[in-house]
């Protein structure tokens, strides 16, 4: 192919995960960026290595695993589930039952991570398989309500099984992120500060690296599932279930597999979520958490991997960014900085302030930053559903197509 070096000459190179040089370079740069984040080596973004940011990023990485799972079930296979937080809880409590320290009021077997982490996923997957048959009987909104029921059944169970979940107001500690062959001293600990290969790292940074690898693995698996036989079957069930059956897709098996694999993702994410928080109460696994995952895949772009990851970071990091920006402007207003005029538009300075509606203090009238975030979240979901159903991914596609055709309009 003289003169056209970028032309595909076989199916293998066309079907590759990253078929173009641009994509390969972009992914490589993204990976390097991800590796440098906890080292504070990125000019202008070195604040990301601060503990408060790194903890948030770790949370986003854990959420990404769960969101990838929900994306397979809801985005690809079209089964709307509001029960994702329930499956996460199943994973978390399986983990603490197998890996936790036993006490006077709680059970725990103190098994190592290579048992409790996969077991968390498998336990959730088994519950998923049990739930799946309902998805064959009820569809769409009705399925959403059935899975919603799971969340409340779950909450009731966790509150009443103190031996597993700990006290209703105190919860119980989860095992640390440590790799040991059996009980005893860990071989690798992600939970203690210390040097790796001569570089001094905090426990947050180590946890970050562990989660980064996990997210990469789970992303690849999700992508591979989507581009092979099972992924096409899921998409077919989503688009037209009866036609899919006539084309030879077993609907019951397809939906069961979707629930099982999605719940496996949720179980692993639930266990890791509890582990990085260290201790949590049963109310963590409520409806709000489940809705957050629906928001992630809607804002990111249902049915796409890139959209799911974008959506996760957007939803998890935006509250913090909004908070930082609000404090910045409040500071500008208070000290009459150069951007004070902009801050005047929305920072509430006194009770009779006409324009301002956000106050940084908890006592002040107007919206608190938390309330602002909740309102923003709702507005964003509405805007995305109406204006951009493909989410952030859809916006990206439009930007990309614009530059692909530039300077022509199409």
């Amino acid at each position: 192919m003289r003169g056209r070096p970028n032309l595909f000459t076989d199916y293998e190179s066309e079907m590759a995960l990253f078929p173009t040089t641009t994509k390969r370079v972009a992914v490589a740069l993204l990976l390097i960026f991800a590796l440098l984040v906890p080292l504070g080596a990125i000019p202008g973004l070195s604040f990301l290595q601060e503990s408060s940011w790194l903890v948030l990023i770790n949370r986003a990485l854990v959420f990404a695993i769960a969101a990838l799972g929900l994306n397979l079930l809801t985005g690809v296979a079209g089964q709307v589930s509001l029960g994702h937080s329930f499956f996460m809880a199943v994973g978390a409590y399986t983990a603490v039952l197998l890996g936790g320290t036993p006490g006077k009021t709680v059970w725990g077997l103190e098994l190592p991570i290579w048992i409790w982490l996969p077991a968390a996923g498998i336990a959730a997957a088994i519950i998923g398989i049990i739930v799946a048959p309902t998805a064959v009987r009820v569809r769409g909104l009705y399925l959403a309500f059935v899975t919603l029921g799971l969340v409340f059944i779950g909450l009731h169970l966790w509150r009443n099984f103190g031996k597993i979940a700990g006290g209703p107001t105190t919860g119980r500690p989860w095992p640390p992120l440590e790799f040991a062959l059996w009980k005893g001293d860990p071989i690798i600990s992600f939970a203690k500060d210390g040097p790796w290969l001569g570089v001094q790292l905090t426990s947050d940074a180590k946890t970050y690296f562990f989660l980064l690898v996990a997210v990469i693995v789970f992303t690849l698996v999700a992508k591979n599932l989507m581009r092979t036989r099972i992924g096409r079957a899921w998409a077919a069930i989503r688009d037209r279930d009866i036609a899919a059956e006539i084309m030879g897709v077993n609907e019951v098996r397809g939906k069961t597999q979707a629930f099982a694999i999605s719940s496996f993702y949720a179980g692993i994410a639930g266990a890791l979520f509890a582990v990085i928080l260290g201790r949590l109460i049963p109310e963590t696994w409520d409806l709000l958490l489940a809705v957050e995952f629906i928001a992630i895949i809607l804002i990111g772009g249902a049915g796409t991997i890139a959209g799911t990851l974008l959506g996760t970071f957007f939803v998890v990091l935006i509250p913090r960014i909004v908070e930082d920006i609000t404090f910045f402007f409040a500071d500008q207003v208070a000290n009459q900085g150069p951007l004070a005029w902009l801050g005047d538009l929305f920072i509430r300075k006194s009770p009779d302030d006409i324009l301002g509606f956000v106050s940084t203090g908890a006592a002040g009238p107007g919206l608190s930053i938390f309330q602002l975030n909740v309102a923003l979240f709702g507005v964003l979901i509405i805007v995305f559903l109406i204006a951009e159903p493909l989410g952030l991914y859809g916006i990206w596609i439009r930007v990309r197509n614009y530059w692909k055709g530039w300077p022509f309009t199409y």
């Binding site: 591979n224 092979t228 096409r232 989503r238 009866i242």
Partner: protein, 281 residues
């Protein structure tokens, strides 16, 4: 022979063999089938058979039970009476996906493509019954899944070539013109490597040029792959031109069956199509 396109899968048609060699008498036997929904009788004692490599047509006025016949064959409806025998064994109570695996493929009257998937993905989905990679092999990709995907792609590209839809390969099907969507649907059915293809009004709503294209594809498929077909169609010109045998349904009953020229002369058929008074005069 030389100018024929070669497909990478061989036909499994048993047309040339004797009954003993095939192990069954007719490819498909539809015996005294009755289907009713509460009080409505959609089909009443309908019988016909289809042989290997045959192009069998079903015609009749709207509501005659043509599509219901297809839905019985596919296992979407389970008729109350009668029997449907595929290669000597009954498929009356089988699930749709099981019947697809046995080798009965279908296109739909109102296009039933998967709108969010591309042409490639739609046709590749047709390969579902001819592929066997498990989900964990798929999750790993390297090895078995990759080999199968590449082999699949070769077959799918052959079908795309046969149906002349190369330029639409990567488009989501919802964006394509109607005539092209019909072709993609035919391609998806072909990808299943069927032994019997059910075509539900393949040229409905098409202009003359598109109709002739589709007729050419149907004849190509028959000649190159030897797949038996049941054609439901209102375009009488097409049916009478290409069908080997024709069955006429009216209000769920079979009123005639035979060669196209015989059926055309049948007084019952003329009555059903043109009205009782005209037939009487």
């Amino acid at each position: 022979m030389s100018d024929r396109r070669r497909l990478s899968f061989e036909t499994r048609s048993q047309a040339g063999l004797s009954v003993e060699e095939r192990g069954y008498e007719h490819l498909l036997e539809f015996t005294d089938v009755s289907l009713s929904f509460k009080g409505v009788k959609a089909l009443t004692d309908v019988s016909f058979h289809v042989d290997d490599g045959e192009l069998f047509a079903i015609i009749g006025p709207n509501g005659a039970g043509k599509t219901s016949t297809f839905n019985c064959l596919n296992g979407v409806y389970h008729p109350q009476e009668g029997d449907i025998v595929w290669k000597g064994s009954s498929i009356l109570r089988e699930r749709p996906d099981k019947i697809a695996e046995l080798g009965i493929a279908r296109t739909f009257q109102n296009i039933e493509l998967f709108p969010h998937m591309t042409v490639l993905e739609n046709i590749t989905l047709g390969r579902h019954v001819r592929t066997h990679v498990s989900w964990w092999d798929g999750a790993i990709w390297w090895g078995r899944a990759k080999r199968e995907e590449l082999a699949n792609r070769a077959v799918v590209e052959d079908i795309i070539d046969l149906l002349e839809i190369e330029q639409w390969r990567a488009y989501p099907v919802a964006l394509l013109p109607y005539g092209v969507q019909k072709r993609v649907e035919l391609g998806r059915a072909l990808a299943m490597e069927p032994e019997l293809l059910l075509l539900d009004e393949p040229v409905a709503g098409m202009n003359l040029e598109e109709t002739e294209d589709m007729a050419r594809f149907i004849l190509d498929i028959r000649e190159e792959l030897g797949i038996a077909m049941i054609l439901v169609e209102h375009d009488m010109g097409l049916v009478m031109d290409i069908a080997d045998r024709v069955m006429v349904l009216d209000f769920g009953k079979r009123i005639a069956i035979g060669k196209p020229e015989e059926v055309q002369r049948d007084p019952e058929v003329i009555r059903a199509y043109l009205g009782g008074d005209l037939a009487a005069t």
